[in-house]
């Protein structure tokens, strides 16, 4: 690999040092008793509209996104732009469903989706299913954040053999683990503000400077092969790339807010109104993501992958090197330092929130529910802190010792698994009519079938569904969650007829009104 670029590295290290300091002093920000789980794990539900905007934005639009989506545009072309309709569709859902979620969680002290399901349906096994989906979907996601970080470290020319090459990643990991342990959710909240400002700076500089250097968008897109420019026209008797594109966008959108880290971000807001306002303000991040996706096409137009100085990077990181490479190509070293720091820190924010969310889930919905119901508030917070460390350590081991392909495949499966909680969690916000055991059956059917669909299809996100001679290639997660809902619907009267007691529900209609 190329030599270490000391200017980039110095700026990167200085900014990293700054956010490390910030992470630790955040413990004192909007001070609360960090020995209580809702203070450590939800920031005391104290974040107003603006801080929540930075926190949720920094949480959802991860470093891996900023590396992987331009990489997909570079490698596969137009299909990568599904990230745009995907991140458009999440906001009507956020606007309609999540103020209710915030309200009911606030009334009853719920801190996870599984807490809500436990209270709403009074079924600990359904709540356990929601918990397990959340945990297994989140763990590979944390690992992918570290992969994003690894690409950036590689982009600075840091390389080595064996153990030495992993030292920067391990340092970043230790920093992350330490400030999450001491400050809880306040750390990623304050760091997100710095990181998002840097990311916006990078995105707007890139979208203005690089097209000028390349002679305008017209010239850039003229250089993109026609197969990558638009989606392929579907063949006869199939919806082809159209159904694939639309179902990927819709399925991903339905899944996103079910991830535990999304829930943690939303519940940390200080009111349902802050959540509603954010549904109108967060699309700014979607616009930025859309613009950053175009970086993949800039790489094609500039022919950067053919340049000898970037070939080792592309050889090592494949398409994932596209975004770092175009930044290295277009900007002076000092600015690349800022941009790389933005993406690198962008890995730590979601990784911190994901580990906190997993810790909240384990502590509340496994430990307190099944192991020690009499646990004190102080012990609850302490266990969560330890679990957040264990989860991050697991992700690090994953990245260091297993092939990258496993993390990507598991993250794909994670989307399929987490979406299966939609009927219980989201529909549950609006109705208690579905039976809890029927929901559990639907969840099981969706999870098993979705996993099978992905496995037989070589871990491709789209499944070649055929109905009545028509092909509907599409996202397995969306197809299986529809089936999941139908199973729950059909079995509801069956279980209701067998039930000896009336359904339990500790929430009332008034609890949801904001």
């Amino acid at each position: 690999m190329a030599e270490v670029n000391w200017t980039i590295l110095s700026i990167f290290v200085v900014l990293f040092g700054f956010i490390t300091w910030l992470g630790f002093v955040s413990a004192r920000w909007r001070r609360g008793d960090l020995d209580m789980l809702h203070e450590w794990g939800l920031g005391g539900r104290r974040f107003g509209t603006v801080v929540a905007w930075f926190l949720i934005g920094g949480d959802l639009y991860t470093a891996y996104t900023f590396v992987a989506v331009p990489a997909l545009a570079y490698g596969a072309g137009a299909v990568a732009f599904f990230a745009v309709p995907y991140t458009i569709l999440i906001y009507p859902l956020l606007f309609i469903a999540f103020p209710r979620m915030w309200q009911v969680c606030h009334r009853h002290g719920y801190i996870t989706a599984a807490d809500f399901v436990r209270g709403r349906f009074g079924n600990r096994w359904l709540a356990l299913a929601i918990t397990l989906s959340g945990l297994v979907a989140t763990l590979p996601y944390i690992a992918l954040q570290l992969v994003g970080l690894e690409v950036i470290i590689g982009g600075m020319g840091i390389s080595g053999t064996g153990w030495v090459s992993e030292v920067p990643l391990i340092i970043a990991f230790v920093i992350l683990a330490a400030f999450t342990y001491t400050s809880g959710l306040r750390a990623p909240a304050s760091i997100a503000i710095v990181k998002d400002l840097l990311i916006y700076l990078t995105a707007f500089a890139a979208i203005i400077v690089i097209p000028v250097e390349l002679g305008g968008f017209g010239k850039i897109f003229a250089a993109v092969p026609s197969a990558k420019l638009l989606l392929a026209t579907p063949p006869a008797n199939s919806f082809g790339s159209y159904s694939a594109y639309a179902t990927l966008a819709l399925g991903s959108a339905l899944a996103l807010f079910l991830y535990p880290h999304s829930m943690t971000g939303i519940l940390s807001a200080n009111s349902a109104h802050a959540v509603r306002r954010n549904a109108a303000m967060l699309p700014a991040y979607s616009l930025m993501l859309g613009l950053l996706t175009l970086l993949g096409f800039f790489v094609i137009a500039a022919g950067i992958d053919k340049l000898p100085e970037f070939s080792p990077g592309f050889a090592q990181f494949k398409a994932n090197f596209a975004a770092p490479a175009i930044l290295l190509w277009a900007f002076p070293s000092w600015f690349v330092g800022i941009a790389f720091a933005a993406i690198g820190i962008g890995a730590l924010v979601p990784a911190a929130i994901m580990s906190i969310a997993s810790a909240n889930l384990y502590t509340r919905n496994i430990h307190r529910e099944f192991i020690n119901p009499a646990i004190s508030g102080r012990d609850e917070a302490q266990i969560a802190k330890w679990v957040s460390l264990i989860v991050k350590f697991g992700a690090l081991v994953f990245v260091l010792f297993l092939p990258l392909q496993y993390a990507i495949q598991l993250q794909l499966l994670g989307g399929i698994w987490i979406i299966q909680t939609f009927p219980a969690v989201i529909l549950g916000l609006f109705t208690r009519k579905l039976n809890d055991w029927a929901l559990l059956c639907g969840w099981a059917v969706g999870t098993v079938l979705g996993t099978w669909m992905a496995a037989v299809n070589n871990f491709s996100a789209t499944y070649p569904l055929t109905i009545g001679g028509w092909g509907f290639p599409g996202y397995a997660a969306l197809y299986t969650v529809i089936l999941n809902f139908l199973v729950a619907l059909v079995l509801t009267p069956v279980f209701a007829a067998m039930a000896s007691k009336p359904p339990v529900d500790e929430t009332t209609a008034a609890d949801y009104v904001h």
């Binding site: 569709l89 968008f217 549904a279 109108a280 699309p283 616009l287 209609a509």
Partner: protein, 64 residues
């Protein structure tokens, strides 16, 4: 209940979602805008439309 009076707005949001998912509508290169093919600038425009729509509905439905 807050839901009943807002149904009309929710239908508008639903129609907007259908528009976003109507891929054949925007899978074309022309007309281009500042060199961006239609496929790209139209979807970026939809981001702004979605945000504006949500903001309008927010102000229309927020309790004083």
């Amino acid at each position: 209940m807050e839901g009943r009076s807002h149904t009309g707005w929710y239908v508008v949001l639903l129609l907007f979602c259908v528009l976003v998912l109507w891929v054949p509508l925007y899978n074309r290169a022309e007309p281009s805008f500042i060199g961006l093919p239609f496929f790209y600038w139209f979807q970026l425009l939809l981001v702004l439309v979605g945000a504006a729509l949500t903001a309008i509905i927010y102000f229309a439905t927020e309790k004083k």
